[in-house]
């Protein structure tokens, strides 16, 4: 039977919603290959977007997401490149509108996955830059006192001009962005030897792929000891410890309650994070604030390994979107029965760490102080894109 493209996509969507209910933790969802004869480019594009959205919605269960944020960033960027190539647009303004619209849907699908929003903002900045280069304008379009004083007349540029090479330039720039994304973990690990010395005791919490690569790179040349806080209730720390042991790194796993007790013997704390906020603070896995406070008390440096795509222009004021709560079954299992009706159990996933507790950010572009984050942000994103 040869299905019409529309029928196939309907079946596809229904199938995915069934899967959502019964999906086990580790089951991967694969895309349906769309090599149908006569498949329209537009339906192909919208199908890919739909499949991406449904994957995003499903990935939200617990701290153990199905994919790391690096993969999410890469897939978002690849999807945006596809949109640029296949969608119908006449000038930069229309393209930005399309990307913004899709971006809003993507961020609404999974608000806690901030890398999606970050990549969209990066691509929007790329489009602005390519447009400015095309019309050979000033590339500095940000608000500043200087601009207030010297701009003569309206600087309202609606990006309406059409350039023949804009599409090619934008796609090339997005390819560069993808190359950068692929190299982030390596770039961060390359800096490991500067920060980790022999016979040091390093503490970390939970499981971060970036920190794992960082420590493994240093272990090739140095001998040191790692203490991993298990990070209940998901206990990702156990997986981290197993993985580090495989590289012959001496590892100890401790419960979260022992963090303060052990801190006096620790030389450095190296952690990963889910998001870096605009004020230099972190949104990291729960337990990180405790770790940061203990480190501050003992004057132990706290180093955060975070690639640039985790930098988000949000501030920690939005309480309703900041936290994510998952099933309290992890905290108080349903088997406890009677007590459940008498108590409230919460299982938050994230923690806020204020910028005063952080010593250094190590990213793919080098080491920076938390007070410098505003500058990195202004280089990556345009202020008008902060609100998609």
């Amino acid at each position: 039977e040869i299905h019409e493209p529309e029928e196939v996509s309907v079946w596809f969507r229904e199938g995915s919603s069934c899967c959502q209910e019964t999906l086990a933790r580790n089951q991967r969802f694969t895309e349906t290959p769309v090599n149908m004869p006569g498949a329209d480019k537009e339906t192909d594009l919208s199908e890919r977007i739909e499949s991406f959205l449904s994957e995003l919605k499903r990935c939200g269960s617990g701290a153990g997401s199905l994919r790391g944020s690096a993969e999410t960033a890469r897939e978002t960027t690849a999807l945006l490149r596809r949109i640029t190539a296949q969608a119908r647009w006449g000038n930069a303004g229309e393209l930005m509108e399309i990307i913004r619209k899709e971006g809003r849907r993507m961020t609404a699908a999974q608000p806690s996955e901030t890398t999606v929003g970050n990549m969209i903002r990066r691509v929007l900045k790329i489009i602005r830059e390519e447009y400015a280069r095309g019309s050979s304008e000033e590339t500095d379009q940000q608000e500043s006192l200087h601009k207030l004083l010297t701009s003569g007349g309206s600087s309202e540029d609606n990006f309406r001009q059409h350039f023949t090479h804009l599409k090619a330039n934008v796609i090339e720039a997005i390819n560069e962005l993808l190359t950068e994304l692929e190299g982030t973990t390596d770039n961060i690990s390359m800096q490991a030897l500067e920060h980790i010395h022999s016979n040091e005791v390093i503490m970390t919490i939970g499981r971060s792929r970036t920190v794992e690569a960082f420590l493994k790179d240093a272990a090739r040349k140095r001998k040191f000891h790692v203490i991993v806080a298990e990070c209940a209730p998901f206990c990702q720390g156990h997986e981290m410890a197993t993985s580090l042991c495989k590289e012959d790194i001496e590892t100890t796993v401790i419960p979260d309650a022992a963090i303060f007790a052990v801190m006096s013997r620790v030389n450095k704390v190296i952690i990963g994070t889910q998001t870096v906020l605009a004020n230099g603070g972190l949104r990291a896995v729960n337990g990180t604030h405790t770790l940061a406070l203990a480190a501050k008390h003992h004057s132990t440096p706290l180093i955060v390994c975070a690639p640039m795509f985790k930098l988000s222009p949000q501030f920690p004021n939005e309480e309703d979107t900041f936290h994510k709560f998952v099933s309290p079954h992890e905290v108080l299992p349903f088997t406890e029965g009677e007590i459940l009706s008498k108590v409230n159990a919460h299982c938050p996933v994230f923690d806020y760490v204020p910028p005063e507790l952080i010593t250094l950010f190590i990213s793919n572009i080098g080491g920076n102080a938390p007070s410098y984050i505003y500058r990195l942000m202004s280089e990556l994103y345009h202020p008008e894109d902060h609100e998609l």
Binding site: E143, S144, H146, L148, G152, N279, N317, Y374
Partner: protein, 328 residues
């Protein structure tokens, strides 16, 4: 235009529109002064810090009868006259910005009459933009006020009022504590204005800041000037409030428009120039300033959580960056 007329114009601006920021009124007066300026003679340029720039200008337009130099001289004198009238940091920063604005424009157009026309046009545009800045700040800041919040503020600030107005319009429920702010009891005025907006407000003594700090969720204050280090100059009592909020771990937010950025770098309270600390008439009449009470104090950037400006939400470390962009 005589200096007397300038001061009258400035005073009239403030009288007619009590809601306007004093820096905006100052810039408006300077623009009016510029329009009516009749400088025609070639002045001997004085050896000053801006000597090089002036030398460049005189060389470029030595053949012309009228010079930009004359214009600049007059503007500087006008700014000094205005500062004598109203010794606030805001007037000083507004004036400095305007002077900068002239320099930048004059470098582009060496011909005086053309320069003047461009300046007047840009001046009007600049005025229009900065009159919108308070609205922009209000829009940025009110999202940081959560439902059920208790806010502490100091003395009377029109920007803070705008922020609270926006938050109230957003149907957020919050209560406000205002310090009385002696010696001019400006806090009572603020309380009255808030009361008119149907926001529950309580006036507290200046000495009660430590007492009330445990109850509040956040502190929002305005600023008369934002200095290069990212600190602020504001009504006396602000520094106290900042220290208290740091001790209690409460966020301390400052709301200010970008034209209040000023090129000062005080390291402590003594470094703030006397002409800002005391009122203009006191400076002229009193011999021993040690006996007088200062009207403003300096809050260092380490105590400030975030600054809300029309250029965006800034951390204190970002302020110097903005200033560098303008002045270098």
């Amino acid at each position: 235009m005589e200096e007397r007329e300038l001061v009258e114009y400035f005073r009239a601006q403030i009288r007619e529109d009590p809601d306007v920021a004093s820096a905006v009124a100052a810039i408006r007066s300077l623009l009016e002064f510029l329009k009516r300026d009749q400088s025609e003679s070639c002045l001997v340029f004085r050896e000053s810090v801006q000597g090089y720039e002036m030398r460049m200008l005189t060389n470029a337009c030595a053949s012309l009868g009228e010079t930009i130099l004359g214009l600049r001289e007059n503007q500087t004198k006008a700014i000094q006259r205005l500062e004598e009238t109203d010794s606030s940091v805001a007037v000083s920063s507004g004036g400095e910005l305007f002077l900068r604005f002239i320099s930048l424009t004059s470098l582009e157009h060496p011909d005086l009459s053309q320069c003047k026309n461009v300046m007047i046009e840009r001046g009007e545009l600049f005025l229009k933009k900065i009159s919108l800045s308070r609205g922009k700040v209000g829009k940025l800041c009110h999202t940081f006020i959560k439902d059920g919040a208790k806010i502490l503020t100091h003395s009377s600030s029109r920007v803070v009022l705008k922020v609270l107005e926006n938050a109230a319009a957003d149907n957020k429920r919050f209560t406000v504590y205002v310090t009385e702010s002696q010696p001019d009891s400006a806090g009572k005025l603020m309380a009255q204005k808030l009361h008119n907006l149907n926001i529950p407000v309580t006036v507290v003594l200046d000495a009660a800041v430590g007492y009330i700090m445990e109850k509040v969720d956040l502190v929002i204050v305005g600023a008369e000037g934002v200095v290069e280090s990212g600190g602020v100059i504001n009504k006396i009592g602000t520094y106290q409030m900042a220290v208290c909020s740091k001790a209690h771990n409460k966020p301390f937010y400052v709301v200010a428009e970008s034209f209040k950025f000023v090129r000062l770098y005080p390291l402590n309270q003594q470094d703030v120039p006397d002409r800002f600390k005391y009122k203009a008439d006191i400076l002229k009449t009193v011999k021993d300033l040690n006996q007088e009470h200062p009207m403003i104090d300096y809050t260092p950037p380490s105590l400030i959580t975030l600054l809300f400006t029309d250029l965006g939400v800034l951390t204190p470390s970002a302020v110097s960056d903005e200033l560098i962009k303008l002045y270098l």
